[in-house]
């Protein structure tokens, strides 16, 4: 759970321009910030974070635990690990209407990481492995962050590289995909009541990038019925996301956060995300929060809900590649106990967060009712509840 996670292996394959830029920046950071040293940065607090998560909506129930443990070793090193499970009850509608059978499955993710602090520089690295019965993802990541300018500024750079193995249940073939992502972030204190964050991330995936269970629909010669065929995706996917966040301490004890993110990729998808968060403490122990988030995107160049003819190489019917928007209404409450209530525990925090999500698709149709003529089905819509309940102990 690092702020910016990024890289280490297979240097020969790194995009050379970004690689050079990364290390020029890294060198620049370390040479130029030192004169502004004021007080040392700190390691993450020793803690245990136990989360139960639940997603219910769109015909799917996904839930499970997420446990994160951090422990410092001396004054310069902190290690961490997490265990995360998604128990999935069913596939999403675009897979179900492809003819996939009913199923349940479980995704298990394990991660181990280390933070090393030297004066005002923190170096973090780690490894994550995520496994399903038909999907294996391995990721290494590294990040560097540095406080400078009297601790008014912090810059973070990271790189991650991942290797995926994708198979289809009942099929011997194992397909592969490589993932890389680079991040640069800056957080800046603007005034005694405000700060901002600025993040840029680019990601590149190469290899088998589609879902082996999903099909596209193509009209038959009679122009009435349709046939399901396996999707065909490009083997490279490159994207860039840029985000700006501002956080302001109101005239009374409360804060408001606003953020905007722009996303664009080489598949033709463009997206905008807007979010507002209001946080309001009540006394010493309680904190309430309310969130509003809006997301919109355009479709990928090779997406269609129903292909009229076989005239293009790449074809997809992934609803995440269609034109759609979603809105999230969120609320949360936190109750916190300080030192003295439980021996050896410095802080005990209970958090309950509930989000209600509504997705509206502009050109993805609900093909579950096969009695309707292809292309006349209603556009798909679904809502979901996401619930997170956690206990955090700092020791």
């Amino acid at each position: 759970m690092r702020g910016v996670d990024v890289v280490v292996t297979n240097l020969s394959k790194l995009p050379s321009a970004f690689f050079k830029l990364f290390f020029i920046l890294l060198t620049t950071v370390n040479l130029s910030w030192v004169p502004f040293s004021a007080q040392a940065a700190t390691l993450p607090v020793d803690s245990v974070d136990i989360l139960y998560h639940s997603f219910e909506g769109g015909g799917m129930d996904i839930n499970g635990p997420f446990v994160l443990v951090r422990k410092s070793i001396g004054s310069q090193v902190s290690v961490n690990g997490h265990y995360y499970v998604d128990s999935v009850s069913a596939a999403s509608i675009d897979v179900v209407t492809s003819g996939a059978s009913e199923y349940t499955e479980e995704r298990t993710e394990l991660s181990a990481g280390v933070d090393f602090l030297h004066e005002k520089t923190m170096v973090s690295a780690g490894y994550t492995e995520s496994e399903e019965n038909d999907f294996l993802a391995k990721t290494v990541f590294m990040s560097v962050n540095q406080d400078f300018f009297g601790d008014l500024s912090k810059i973070t750079m990271g790189y991650a590289r991942g290797w995926d193995e994708i198979s289809k249940f009942g099929d011997e073939v194992i397909n592969e995909a490589d993932r890389q992502n680079f991040k640069i972030g800056l957080s800046q204190i603007l005034t005694k009541n405000s700060l901002m964050g600025f993040d840029v991330e680019t990601a590149t995936d190469e290899g088998f990038l589609r879902n082996p269970y999903r099909s596209y629909r193509i009209l038959n010669d009679d122009k009435v019925g349709y046939t399901n065929e396996p999707e065909n995706y490009p083997e490279t996917h490159t994207s860039t996301a840029i985000a700006v966040r501002g956080l302001y301490y109101l005239p009374y004890r409360a804060s408001i956060k606003a953020e905007y993110r722009f996303f664009s990729d080489n598949w033709g998808v463009k997206a905008n995300t807007y979010e507002l968060l209001y946080v309001h403490p009540l006394g010493k122990s309680w904190t309430l929060e309310a969130k509003l988030r809006y997301y919109e995107q355009t479709q990928a160049d090779f997406y269609s809900d129903l292909f009229k003819a076989d005239t293009q190489e790449f074809k997809a019917r992934d609803k995440e590649l269609s034109t759609f928007s979603d809105v999230t209404y969120g609320a949360g409450v936190t109750y916190e106990l300080g030192k003295g209530f439980i021996p050896y525990i410095n802080k005990l925090k209970f958090t309950l967060l509930a989000d209600y999500l509504e997705f509206d698709y502009d050109n993805f149709r609900d093909a579950s009712d096969t009695s309707l003529v292809a292309g006349t089905e209603p556009f798909y819509h679904f809502s979901a509840w996401v619930t997170r309940a956690s206990i955090t102990l700092e020791y």
Binding site: F141, R253, K257, A271, V279, R388
Partner: protein
Amino acid sequence: MKVLLLLSILLVNPLLLSGCSDIKPWVKPYERNNLADPIMSLDRHGAAGAYIHHVYQAREGARGAEGGAGGGCGCN
């Protein structure tokens, strides 16, 4: 890549210039009480924050620059 290069130059240059000029940190340590309040954290929820990013990554086309979670979720 050009966008990244431009943004990086914009990001770094003012900082380099500040090292050679009279610009000093303008918010003193004793003025940071409000900023030190936990409600002024950009990432308050740790694992719970990482989870909601995972929810969105699995259902939206956009990815990245979440400003908190990272490392690859392996969640196509």
